[in-house]
Symmetry: C2
């Protein structure tokens, strides 16, 4: 490759490949369907592997994608990132799971590392939960697990990243979040080894943050109204990703692999006009959850 | 109101109100469900009336909205429009119909007029068809009707507006259009009375361009594969509107009425991963239609 990437880049590439295997294996243990593996190459350098599952027993659609690319940034990409250097290397894992059951939340995680020839380098990432049913204890479990992961690597960091997530996964025209948040961080430039430790701690927390919810809720019976609300909130999910998500818009503008980028969109979704949840329904109790709030006790 | 709008503004407001009535009446003749009327006021001045139908026998979702607003443009809106003057008046009709049957195309039309205190004023608008089944003769009927409407008001204009439409309703990351196009024009500043005549000619052509298709196809039996393809293409429709449509993005950024703006989104849609139409299927024959091409003979 044209860029002499760092040993840290190799460590990150190794970590995300192993994490992809680990997450897919744990998911396949719970789904009768297997992930389809699509390896792809980037004409400018590098490539990736998308692993996608569709119409499974647990997952209606899910993707766990890794990529490691390098080459020269387009002028537009360099300008979008506000960097001077054009030679780059980037790697990351990006994951979205949309379960069949409305009683199990959708989940997203992304961990990424970016290096420029100039020596500038940074980590970014985050994870957030998009539930459709008011199992508040599940949201607390998710946030507490993330809190432990952040605090173990960077004491005091959960609050900062949690608040950043509340601001990021937000639909300003709706005045609400797409889900119940999680953590979000970007441009972690200082102390790269330290940032890598955080990224690994967050990556390792994925299965413990999510699987207990899956296992607790997967056999829970659900009603038509739950499914309807799930399709409605999936609409907000797609609305956020297409209108605001920086990764999605950056990827499409810079000619990333379209199917891997838009893998994040829900399999089936609805846009009813002027939807109002029925009074006293589970959907109505969910509405308040889409405002930023404390889900983990103050550390 | 703060802006002394022109007599032409009043004529346009009158025209779109009458057109809204005419289109809703013709639609209700064909649907067992009635339009719900939502009048709304804009805090800064003016308002509108959204007429929306959901879960009808003909239309799964449809909206025929008019608005007439005035006041002061936000700095962001003025900058987005590249204008100096901040006092404005704007009126328009915006229509999207998503039929239940995949054998009937979705359709969109928008006609609008914008006036600034500086005296600058312009018309814009267009209409486009989004079919899901290869009834090529329907696409030709639609385009020929538009061709006649354009040529009657502005000889030689169909080609220009048709090509502008091919460029506008285009998803660059997919390399395809959202449908089979139609016409699109904007910033018609010269000869306002002349432009108004075009707008009326296009508005008047709406029912003759669309109703014959509805009446011909509404009782046509359809298969599960047709519905699947309709949901898939509706995904592209939402993708276009949220990622690229200038009206949608401008409206949301400038605090328009969210439910009226996003009324355009399909009621139910899907995002399958890496979809490929079955060989020899109607869906496969449709794929070629999403590339710009001639649907009306050269004038």
């Amino acid at each position: 490759m044209s860029l002499h990437h760092s040993p840290l880049f190799d460590k990150m590439t190794g970590y995300i490949a192993e994490l992809q295997d680990r997450i897919c294996a744990a998911t396949e243990e719970r789904d009768a369907t297997r992930f389809r593996h699509d390896r792809w190459e980037r004409p400018g350098g590098g490539g990736g592997e998308s692993r996608v599952i569709q119409n499974g027993t647990l997952l209606e659609k899910g993707g766990v994608n890794v990529s490691s690319v390098h080459g020269e940034l387009s002028e537009e990409a360099a300008s979008a990132l506000s960097v001077d250097s054009r030679e780059f290397a980037a790697c990351g894992i990006s994951l979205v799971l949309h379960p069949v059951s409305p009683r199990i939340p959708s989940i997203h995680m992304n961990l990424r590392y970016f290096e420029l020839e100039s020596g500038d380098a940074w980590f970014g990432g985050g994870t957030d939960l998009t539930p459709f049913y008011p199992h508040f204890e599940d949201f607390r479990h998710f946030h507490r697990t993330l809190q432990k992961a952040c605090e173990a690597a960077q004491p005091g960091s959960y609050r900062t990243y949690k608040e950043e997530c509340d601001r990021y996964f937000y639909l300003p025209h709706r005045g609400e979040m797409r889900g119940v948040g999680g953590i979000f961080f970007d441009y972690l430039r200082e102390n790269p080894e330290h940032a890598f430790a955080l990224v690994c701690s967050v990556g390792d927390s994925f299965l413990p943050s999510y699987l207990p919810i899956v296992d607790l809720r997967r056999d829970e019976p659900n009603e038509d109204a739950d499914r309807e609300f799930q399709l409605f909130r999936r609409g907000r999910y797609a609305e956020f990703n297409l209108l605001y998500d920086r990764g999605t818009r950056f990827g499409l503008r810079t000619s990333g692999r379209v199917e891997s980028i838009l893998m994040s969109l829900p399999p089936l979704l609805s846009y009813p006009y002027d939807y109002k949840p029925p009074a006293g329904s589970a959907a109505e109790r969910m509405q308040e959850c889409y405002q930023p709030q404390e889900w983990a006790p103050l550390e």
